[in-house]
Symmetry: C2
């Protein structure tokens, strides 16, 4: 099937759409060579035809009617860049039903409706690619599905949200607090005016759900992810982390342990020597452990116009190569089995705990006793500072199941020697188990 | 074309071959699901049938006659793991002529005979994959060819030789010298008894030639690479690097500048804050800059039985998927154009220079004058130590063309104030141009 041209319809012409247009323009010659024929943008769905755009685009390409793309028999590939669940999901499904291949950057839809999307792609022999949904420009979906396909993946730890990584980096480097750094991030455009999905961990949860699904070959939904955000991280915690040889990062973590999948997003201490510790500012990185490859890491810009457009356009090129070679659905859903999600209660972690205790003899013995009675042993203790009349005590525990830690903390709260449990942060990236 | 099975012939059953067998055994079920049918090792070419092997393999699989593989009509994929140029290259070509797809880990052959191999693959509609030839288990060939296909790649900087990275890490962490750390590396099996190809930079040169060819779409041969090894690196240089905020790494560097390709391997100072600076021990990493993706990095184990086997097996899985879907040669050679190689003389670098000068007034003025007269300006100067009766002077220059630096050094050598130019090491990873 010799092709003269491959035609693309864009749903959305915001930041990423503009980036895609720019790449197709700047690197047209090379892209044509790689595919074997030119790519052409045939139609672009926009909300407002009269809007002034940063890029000069032939206005005849714009339409406000999605049928001009979905029902257009000339269009081979639909690129969905609208974001959000609705109407993006319906458009993607409809495009596939009409025999069009789909590229999407939409983590909301992929994380929530992956099963339905892939079943439809399979039924209609469609390519459905979504590299840009996780890690922006960083190649991670294709590496997991292809380059590491020989491995049994054991663990994925990702810094997959640029907003929070920028904030934690700033807090760490400049000692400022959460609220002031959030304001700065908003001013710079790194955080949205409603930052809840970022700082609360939901954005990272969607991404780690997608990665876990691919890594472990079982459907992991965003609802399976245990989520804690970074809103409670204080400059004190960051200073103690540094003193103890750690940095604090918001991590998406997915592991397979004895056939069960644990999947969670929370801030964590990681050793300063861990490859993820050097991932700063808006950069993202995904650390992968496989039975054959050992440790690997993928690093780059997790968001932004051009990095995200890089991933989207690469997917478009890949689909176009398939079209030129007359093949489709080479690699679709890899969720072949169903593995149970491990209860968070059972997940073992080492913990950093900062608390304010009465400043009198025997208090530390009471605290250590409460931990000990729940099987929590201590790795290190720092007590050097007074806050008002209380002693600030910082503890790092050895690995213990979440439920034991919760019970120990409850016992301490009910007792009368600890005024306040300030922070409880898990420690990751060591050799805990 | 529905397939019941895909059959593989292995050329070589050394370390990597054993790793491939182990993976196919350990992860058989998952690999079968990913391909859509099972993979089976049909024949294995070995030198010695009677050799005791670490893995128990049905002895009927072994043969010492390559024709049992190349002329075997049942075999779909030939996996070349012999290493070296001969007879590996001929076997690869012959396999393709017989219509067999080829997976190889052989950087020698790919770096030297890439053009011939790919022309043959194209002629016979063959898949030819070589992910393991660079970076061991690290996904880098496929990411460059597919995931970053939308980019104009501007720069690749790689730590692509594990032996030298282990040695430099040890020298840096423990202050020991080249010879003692080489002995230790040999004792641990990280360096070969003849370490020339590693410490001399040739191994890295082969890999950066392969990466440059893919990144810039032009055939770069190992002969195009300017090569310096690490044999002259001293503990003093490493200590000064640390003091100045750098680490020393053996880098493979490839850049496209104004349509010309520069490609070189040499030790270099890189800033401690550069992502490559934290890549230690036997780990490898490849740092890539593209016009859309910005900075990205790929990190992992660059050698070893299982990591290399991970990459080889992934390639085999990918070819098998193509066979099952009845497609081939989806992605072959991407060297579409011919770009000139930039003369090393013209390459601009910042330099670290350590020299011994007479310890008397006005000497620094003479040295600075010699540099100045060749357009070399100084970024920093350290003079704090005496070696015998001489003053040790350490200079870091601003970026200057290689030829200017060479001329300045010649002038200094011919003069009478400098006793010895101890070290001249380029500085990379900043914003020099």
């Amino acid at each position: 099937m010799k092709r003269d041209i491959v035609r693309v319809g864009l749903l959305g012409m915001g930041t990423v759409g503009t980036g895609v247009m720019r790449i197709l323009d700047d690197n047209a010659e090379n892209i044509t060579r790689k595919i074997g024929c030119p790519l052409r943008i045939e139609k672009i769905l926009v909300r407002d035809l009269s809007k002034t755009r940063r890029l000069s685009v032939d206005s005849a390409l714009f339409t406000t009617d999605v049928a001009d793309i979905l029902d257009n028999p000339n269009i081979d590939i639909v690129v969905e860049l609208m974001g959000g669940e609705r109407p993006a999901k319906e458009y993607i499904l409809e495009a596939m039903r009409k025999g069009k291949h789909v590229v999407t950057a939409n983590k909301d839809v992929v994380a929530k409706y992956g099963k339905e999307l892939f079943e439809t792609a399979e039924k209609y022999h469609i390519d459905l690619l979504f590299e840009a949904s996780v890690g922006g420009g960083i190649p991670i979906i294709r590496p997991l599905k292809q380059c590491l396909a020989a491995n049994k993946i054991q663990e994925i730890i990702g810094i997959v949200n640029g907003t929070t990584n920028y904030m934690l980096t700033k807090m760490s480097q400049e000692g400022c607090d959460f609220d002031s750094v959030l304001k700065e991030a908003q001013a710079k455009g790194y955080a949205e005016s409603d930052p809840t999905a970022d700082v609360g961990g939901l954005d990272a949860a969607r991404k780690i759900a997608i990665l876990a699904s691919i890594a472990f070959g079982t459907r992991v939904s965003v609802d399976d992810v245990y989520v804690e955000g970074i809103t409670n991280i204080t400059p004190e915690d960051i200073a103690y982390a540094k003193e103890l040889g750690f940095v604090i990062k918001l991590l998406g973590i997915a592991k397979e342990v004895n056939g069960e999948v644990e999947v969670r997003v929370h801030p964590a201490f990681i050793p300063q020597t861990h490859p993820l510790a050097a991932v700063n500012d808006v950069f993202n990185a995904i650390f992968v452990k496989g039975d054959a490859v050992g440790e690997a890491m993928f690093y780059g810009r997790g968001a932004g116009e051009m990095p995200t457009a890089s991933a989207v356009t690469a997917d478009v090129i890949d689909v176009a190569r398939d079209i030129v070679h007359g093949v489709s659905s080479r690699i679709l859903c890899t969720c072949f089995v169903t593995k149970p999600i491990r209860s968070m209660e059972e997940v073992p972690s080492s913990f950093y705990i900062r608390l304010l205790a009465l400043d009198r003899p025997g208090v530390l013995a009471v605290i250590a006793g409460a931990f000990g009675s729940h099987g929590v042993s201590l790795q290190s203790v720092i007590q050097k500072r007074k806050v008002n009349s209380d002693a600030e005590v910082v503890l790092v525990t050895n690995a213990v199941a979440e439920k034991n830690m919760r019970n120990a903390l409850r016992m301490i709260e009910l007792g009368d020697v600890v005024r306040e449990i300030g922070s409880v942060i898990r420690v990751e990236g060591g050799n805990l188990e």
